[in-house]
Symmetry: D3
Subunit: 260 residues, 6 copies
Amino acid sequence: MSQILTAVYNQVATIALNHPETRNSLSCQMLEEMLQAIEQFSHDENVRVLVIRAPRGTKVWSSGFNIHELPVSGRDPLSYNDPLECLLRAVARFHSPVIAMIEGSVWGGACDLSFVCDIAIGCPTSSFAITPAKLGVPYNISGIMHFFNIVGPRIAREMFYTAEPISAERALQVGILNHLVSVEELEAFTYAMAGRIADNSPLANRVMKEQLRLLADAYPLRPETFEYVQGLRRMAYDSKDYEEGKRAFLERRKPVFSGK
Amino acid sequence: MSQILTAVYNQVATIALNHPETRNSLSCQMLEEMLQAIEQFSHDENVRVLVIRAPRGTKVWSSGFNIHELPVSGRDPLSYNDPLECLLRAVARFHSPVIAMIEGSVWGGACDLSFVCDIAIGCPTSSFAITPAKLGVPYNISGIMHFFNIVGPRIAREMFYTAEPISAERALQVGILNHLVSVEELEAFTYAMAGRIADNSPLANRVMKEQLRLLADAYPLRPETFEYVQGLRRMAYDSKDYEEGKRAFLERRKPVFSGK
Amino acid sequence: MSQILTAVYNQVATIALNHPETRNSLSCQMLEEMLQAIEQFSHDENVRVLVIRAPRGTKVWSSGFNIHELPVSGRDPLSYNDPLECLLRAVARFHSPVIAMIEGSVWGGACDLSFVCDIAIGCPTSSFAITPAKLGVPYNISGIMHFFNIVGPRIAREMFYTAEPISAERALQVGILNHLVSVEELEAFTYAMAGRIADNSPLANRVMKEQLRLLADAYPLRPETFEYVQGLRRMAYDSKDYEEGKRAFLERRKPVFSGK
Amino acid sequence: MSQILTAVYNQVATIALNHPETRNSLSCQMLEEMLQAIEQFSHDENVRVLVIRAPRGTKVWSSGFNIHELPVSGRDPLSYNDPLECLLRAVARFHSPVIAMIEGSVWGGACDLSFVCDIAIGCPTSSFAITPAKLGVPYNISGIMHFFNIVGPRIAREMFYTAEPISAERALQVGILNHLVSVEELEAFTYAMAGRIADNSPLANRVMKEQLRLLADAYPLRPETFEYVQGLRRMAYDSKDYEEGKRAFLERRKPVFSGK
Amino acid sequence: MSQILTAVYNQVATIALNHPETRNSLSCQMLEEMLQAIEQFSHDENVRVLVIRAPRGTKVWSSGFNIHELPVSGRDPLSYNDPLECLLRAVARFHSPVIAMIEGSVWGGACDLSFVCDIAIGCPTSSFAITPAKLGVPYNISGIMHFFNIVGPRIAREMFYTAEPISAERALQVGILNHLVSVEELEAFTYAMAGRIADNSPLANRVMKEQLRLLADAYPLRPETFEYVQGLRRMAYDSKDYEEGKRAFLERRKPVFSGK
Amino acid sequence: MSQILTAVYNQVATIALNHPETRNSLSCQMLEEMLQAIEQFSHDENVRVLVIRAPRGTKVWSSGFNIHELPVSGRDPLSYNDPLECLLRAVARFHSPVIAMIEGSVWGGACDLSFVCDIAIGCPTSSFAITPAKLGVPYNISGIMHFFNIVGPRIAREMFYTAEPISAERALQVGILNHLVSVEELEAFTYAMAGRIADNSPLANRVMKEQLRLLADAYPLRPETFEYVQGLRRMAYDSKDYEEGKRAFLERRKPVFSGK
Ligand code: NI
Ligand code: NI
Ligand code: NI
């Protein structure tokens, strides 16, 4: 059965994560369904805004990447053609603005997903945690860019090094949230903004979104620099700590990292 | 008759927009006068700071680009040698710091002008709206950079996609305003800061301004990427929506965009 | 006698500036001692976080570069192999996260030092001033980048042009401080965060720190642009104003700059 | 009737320009047919090399862009979505190596087409001329890059400024041709090389082609630089000389350029 | 027993590959010995030039990477910390000019080694082949850059796609060789040039070598572009063809590639 | 008395170096005169090509920078505002193509001058030597780029490290010369090409020249990289070897470099 719900109404499309059993975990199935929905909306002339949300009243917007599906040691866990990476690019390249409507906590890969949306609207239960340091996963540079662009280097470092959640209030202050409204108002506020965007010129918004995306991607590095980074990342995903991180998570205990 | 007033006092130059009939619209004449004033100040050894302002008590700092002067369909409305583009570069390259002293609302191209100033001081009546999505105008990448640099990607996207004004309070929080003071204090506060800057080393400030400008411009893109963006922009300014946006504005009605 | 104190406890290393006679001025001796300590910690497998701090109760975290040691006119005062520049790079390249624990005021070169730390925790007595414009010193582009990255262009320009201190409250708002806590809590809060980081994967944090550093450095400029900037900087450090700035500082009077 | 012939044999695909009436002019129809052929080959798993050629014995490989189809003054004649530009990108992005087999003279846009092929094999009748300076057309930066990459700045400048043909002998020396063989051997030599390539790993060749393409495109420019170039190009295609160039060509007389 | 010979004479250091049993294959042992020799020379103030050569009369300068040591499927065969990659960087970063004195044929990884040397002197028996397409190995972008820089895109593509050797005569024409002399003169010619370089300013040569290296590395790409390339490369080294290439080589038969 | 001759004839301007006493040394006076001539031609609508040449029959086209005018130790000898640097930029930015007509030998800074011209035509007496390694001068990165662009890395390294002259024949092969003709034909050949260029569209040539210049400058480096290079260069111009190189040249003896 489908893990998401989709709708189009008044030129505003919606994808609602809808799999409470896994707290909306970004399993392969969930990711593929989202990719298909976006692909479909991208051919729908009627769609001028996309809202990504979870069901009303949820405690967890999404629990993030499905740790069971992390690859074995010796393989890059964040490779270009993995479905999560494909989804992040599909959101960034979607022809129209994408609004993340955030109720509940957002974890790991879902935190990255919420950061690639153009705009984010939250409520007091929203929180954001990016957790690779807890798992021993060497995050990839395009993912780190998503955070660096939105919260700047100081908050990005704190988020990555501590892997602790950021509260809704602080998320507003540091620029993760465009607006923080009450749970009751969240839906109305979000769709009102979506409606105002849908009334504006879709051609102008499309080209401005592309330009904004290109500016956000303009961190050119020398090939040797990337190969160096990839070498460091490989040391991490070849390490014992990488296995320890995953095992500890699945055993619901604190990992013990040796740096090896 | 001149649409601006200029003055130099205590090493601080001032340009005051002064054309209430058009709510300080950035007409060709206004823009040419500002360019001439800046050219003149740039040869005046006595000038160490420039303040750009509107008259005391104004409701509109500037209503922005003169829509009557938008080019016909099929022509890029934001070309390198257009006077507004020349003015934005002249402000960014002026040898000394430029302070935008903002009383009243700031619209469209004037919003871009206020963003290329080095520092902005506002008061409770200040507000900022960047409106190309309402007009169907595909904004240009250097203009989008001015916003991206100051407010980051999330607020920039909201401003561009919604075309709605940002209030003074929020402008302070998101980094548009360096300081928000009462209307009564605005002038004294601004000129006090200008005076403190004028007491510092003009040679050090000049080279630091250039370095800051160069960092803010360091978004290198591949030529093919630009040609792709220019192709997207051309589709927009060749479209029917481009004409509809302009016509609706002049007829003071809401535009109806078809995406074509 | 040594001007710093060092310690390692629970995988958290500490460097405490400890030279009240000069208000922790960044003299050559101080800088060399810090470089040695960091070099030593970088070979210590036990170290997973580094805290840089001043003694409890200090009014001045550091008074910054030792003005007596500024080079004579005609020589670049901020050259690649100067000890302050070496220290800034050593902090940015240190294999583990570095937290600046800030009590008291931070001036000039010490302000730059506090900005290259990954994370900064402050208290109500913290303040930050970057003062080359008062001295007539043309700051260098890598130093300007440190500020540009953290506070964005508008606050960076205000800090550089005015050379005035930023208060703790404002430092929190503009992103200089990750957290602002009371003086009493400062130590406990800082070391608690350090402990949480030390529990996470050191390999993941190491590669994520490198990636964050590389993104923060990705401001590529053309060689001719640098040579132009270096030419402007040379005009400034060859000028009379450069000598006036230094002399006025040592004579504890306000400089009189002529722009020559 | 079709203006091209296509074939696939032994994993080597061929496109033969075949419209002697217009001396294989790159008319819209010719370009669309080539685009369709390449699209089709890109889905054919059997294709590992593509040869682009003209019929045996031709004096003109291709006469280049169809001047009748140049846009009117005031419109960019080399826009991203024009069919010639689409074809150049399709060749560069084709999943397998593309060999230009050149018999006869190559003019204007066809010269650019021959330059985006991976490898070129010629014979004594081959010659290459890039002619926008004769027509008053401001060439675009991606096109100029194709020449700059292959012949370096000195020969590129001579080719663009003089618009004179380069002989086969000189084409070999300056790197336009990989090999220069007799007319009789041309076909056998070319298909022998194609066969050797087809025997090698198609996956390795595909990724190496992409990497070579990306290196050849790595000329990052600042957005303002591109807008400046676009402004210069617009001055040229808005000029009287642009019209004079086209008219003179169609009237088969030498143009008289005024620089206006 | 050592696989290389080293010497320093008249400020000119020499590394001679000396393992005829494997035709100077770049085995791990050979690579480690070369790395150690270079490390040692880098601390020898007396060394101002380095010559890398094979014994007089050899037919094979080096047979290249030891195919037995290629990693299993699923692992990147050209990773940053592999000894061949370390050697290539050590040569490029060596403080003094490095001359490749080439007698005999040069294959695969040894071809890359000869390309990172600053200068190459050859004789009629020299030839150069870069063979990953024959093995099904997706070459890495820094390696491809070494060829792209020296022979330009057209010859680089031919070399990579065909994997065929380039003769000494052609190597001179396309810029692989600085000079082509007779076998008898090779040694005298090479050491005479080395001597002339050693007489010049070592400080000037050191900084000019660094600048030339940095220019040759200035191909900045966006992080997403690298991740895309790395994704393509992973598809290739995860493929059946990767295994077929290695197996066929070891079985001394022609590989049969399926593209899968 | 003037050290150059200038003329404009048939839309072709000429600057002839004309100071045989110093073998056309690029003294400050010579450089200033050339800068003035170019400034004047840049406002002359009649000028569509510029030829830079020496008098008929000269043995030395130019002996290069005037070594007596090299700055003292401790000062960068190749600073942005030095007249030679200004001249190199003026040639590269001149609105029309510039042809170097080379009779005789070209040394040091004059070699750089000949490389920034768009096109070079030589005769059998032409030769090219770039000599900073003989003088102990750390060349600057924009100068090194001029050579790197035209002759590629291998020949550039040989030229810089050996400081030996390149003969006319080899200059043609490696791409320094566009054409090599007899001394008798040199003038006719050069002015015939100049005439053909002058007949083409000046607007198209102007924008294509700018685009070619921008591509040739597209070597973006990180600020820290440049500061590192500048640090290395400073070590060299602060060294004893820098003084030894200059002294030995003026004493017409071979320098003895110690590396200090
Ligand atoms: Ni002027
Ligand atoms: Ni298709
Ligand atoms: Ni060492």
